[in-house]
């Protein structure tokens, strides 16, 4: 099997981000919150301060490492919530059809009509800022594409011979959905999920930038950008490094999604075997 470049590069970038987040306590030079020293404020990148320091003298390098934890948690957890909601609604709608399908379709169209970030903002306004609210807000607002995909797959799969066979064998509806339909639609759903993680990382940045994300002083890439916006001309490293981290992680996730699509696409697979 030939490994595809986008899969390797994307996978490595994403893995790097995860490793960085996990090993932050060991890789960091200083504590990201406590080690503030105004004597070192706004130092440019150097051998001592790899990514420079911020206005309160905190090490940007250490803060970017810890920031990965928030960004990735939001990306992974909120997308998981989205995937579960989307698959549950779409799969059941496509399988059962009828009034339930109409309800799910209406709901999906509603979600698609409202920009998800605006919807998330509204939820955040109710719940107040913080990591949990962020997870809930982003987890409830981005399932429409997964839902559409799951519904379309279920519609085409439910006429397959093996699904009919399962019905004839007396399988219950839940068992048919879980054992016959779900495994055969998982590929594209994983792809959409990976791409969705990328956009969740961006949404986290956007919401934190607006001051609705993780509360300072704990770092997230978005809140770091938000804090750095006034010094963009005087101390550009403050925004450069968290920005670069977001860019590389999202790029990695998108490449990974593309690579997975290439592998999981049945057409490309049958050509290889």
């Amino acid at each position: 099997m030939k490994l595809r470049a986008n899969l390797v590069i994307g996978g490595s970038l994403f893995a790097l981000a995860i490793i960085v987040g996990l090993l932050a306590p060991w890789l960091a030079h200083t504590d990201p919150v406590m080690d503030a020293n105004l004597m070192n404020a706004e130092e440019p990148p150097s051998w001592t301060w790899w990514f420079g320091t911020d206005g309160q003298g905190r090490d940007i390098y250490s803060r970017v490492l810890y920031g990965a934890r928030v960004s990735l948690t939001v990306g992974i957890v909120s997308q998981l919530i989205n995937s579960v909601i989307g698959v549950a609604l779409g799969l059941s709608a496509g399988y059962f059809g009828g009034w339930w399908d109409d309800v799910v379709n209406a709901l999906t169209n509603l979600m698609l009509a409202i920009p998800s970030l605006i919807f998330a903002l509204a939820i955040m306004a109710v719940l107040g800022p913080g990591l949990t609210s962020l997870l809930i807000a982003l987890g409830l607002t981005n399932w429409s594409f997964t839902c559409r995909l799951a519904r379309a797959s279920a519609l085409s799969l439910r006429n397959q011979g093996y699904v009919q066979a399962a019905t004839v064998l007396g399988y219950g509806d839940l068992r048919i959905m879980v054992t016959q339909l779900l495994p055969n639609m998982l590929g594209p759903i994983v792809v959409i999920g990976t791409l969705g993680m990328g956009s969740a990382v961006l949404s986290e940045a956007a919401l934190s930038f607006l001051g609705l994300g993780v509360r300072p002083p704990f770092p997230s890439w978005g809140s770091m950008l938000s804090e750095a916006r006034d010094q963009i001309t005087t101390a550009p490293w403050l925004s450069l490094f968290p920005g670069l981290a977001i860019f590389l992680t999202v790029l990695g996730l998108n490449l990974l999604g593309d690579g997975l699509r290439d592998i999981l696409d049945p057409h490309s697979r049958s050509r290889r075997t």
Binding site: G161, V168, L169, G170, Y171, G172, R175, T179
Partner: protein, 346 residues
């Protein structure tokens, strides 16, 4: 293999009475009348224990709809289906569905689409047993191994995925899945037409062997009349949602009484003769707008005014059990007999 003796009228394992399945189609929104597709319209069938009933007809004749109704997958508009003394209901109560599943099963046409690509053969065969309350691990393993042997696969092939098998082997897996619950009736829906020609005989022989060893009854749906003749004890011919002829296989193939059955048989190319094929003229009529009177009348070479007037002919059963839906079948039989003696004397 020997010719089965004509059986006494022992108990029927399947009875279909006046089955009708109508599908409402679109329309409505802009005041157009809602149209009704009468996919099956008043079908009576019976299947004796150990018998193979051939169900013949062209696409759109309703034979698959009959099969899906017997399997409880379609709700009949009218009529009854009684399987092994129990009426088929489509209320999808789990207990009813399971009881039916242990009685009637199906072998599908396409061995590629009918196996879940993500499940091993073992899982495909074990899950149905678990669903039906077989819990003992040893029993499950025994039954799967025995079934694999029955269909000519080796037990060590059980842990492979469908794509590792050829089309013929996949069809064997499909047969094993249909038989794992020990059903009494198996509906074979074009079981060999998607297979390579050199593989078909293997599957036909296997199906006939299994029928004898396991005491099964078959409904054999096929457009290949050679296969139907080889396998069936009785044959029912369907046209546009109705049975037009029904009788013993020898009667159907040697003395077909309905002009449609005659046309079907005549259309089969004779490989030994470089002669033109007998053509019928015209396509199958649109089932949404069936012809008046006898549905076959627009294509029938014997059709007269009576054939095009309502009501259409009824299925009349002769004393020998051969049933025909044609006003003029006796007259046509006489003409054909005359024609064959004339051509014989030439």
């Amino acid at each position: 293999m020997h010719e089965p003796q004509p059986r006494p009228d022992d108990d029927l394992i399947l009875r279909v009475e006046d089955l009708a399945v109508h599908f409402p189609l679109g329309g409505g929104l802009f005041g157009r009348e809602r149209r009704l597709l009468r996919a099956v319209d008043g079908v009576d069938l019976s299947l004796r224990r150990g018998e193979c009933l051939g169900l013949v007809g062209e696409s759109g004749s309703g034979k698959s709809t009959v099969a899906l109704s017997i399997l409880g997958l379609l709700k009949p508009t009218r009529g009854h289906i009684v399987v092994d003394g129990r009426e088929v209901v489509t209320n999808s109560r789990s207990a009813d569905r399971k009881a039916l599943a242990r009685t009637v099963q199906i072998v599908f046409q396409d061995p590629y689409a009918s196996l879940n690509p993500r499940q091993t053969v073992r899982r495909t065969l074990e899950d149905p047993l678990r669903v039906h309350g077989v819990t003992a691990k040893s029993e499950i393993e025994d039954r799967v191994a025995t079934m694999l042997k029955h269909v000519g696969l080796r037990p060590e092939q059980a842990d492979r995925f469908p794509h590792e098998f050829s089309g013929g082997q996949r069809q064997r897996i499909g047969i094993a899945r249909a038989l794992i619950l020990n059903p009494r009736i198996v509906i074979c829906d074009e079981p060999v037409s998607a297979l390579d020609v050199s593989i078909r005989a293997q599957i036909i022989n296997l199906l006939l062997e299994l029928k004898d060893t396991l005491g099964l009854s078959y409904i054999m749906i096929s457009h290949d009349l050679g296969v139907v003749e080889h396998m069936s004890d009785r044959v029912a011919v369907m046209y546009l949602g109705r049975i037009v002829e029904n009788g013993d296989w020898r009667e159907i193939f040697e003395r077909p009484a309905h002009p449609y059955t005659q046309a079907l048989i005549a259309a089969i190319p004779d490989p030994l003769r470089h002669a033109p094929l007998a053509t019928t003229g015209g396509d199958l009529p649109n089932p949404l707008n069936p012809p008046n009177g006898c549905a076959f009348s627009p294509r029938c070479r014997y059709a007269e005014a009576v054939c095009r007037s309502e009501p259409g002919p009824v299925l009349e059963t002769r004393p020998d059990g051969h049933a025909v839906r044609c006003w003029r079948s006796e007259e046509i039989a006489g003409r054909r007999a005359l024609a064959s003696t004339e051509s014989g004397s030439l």
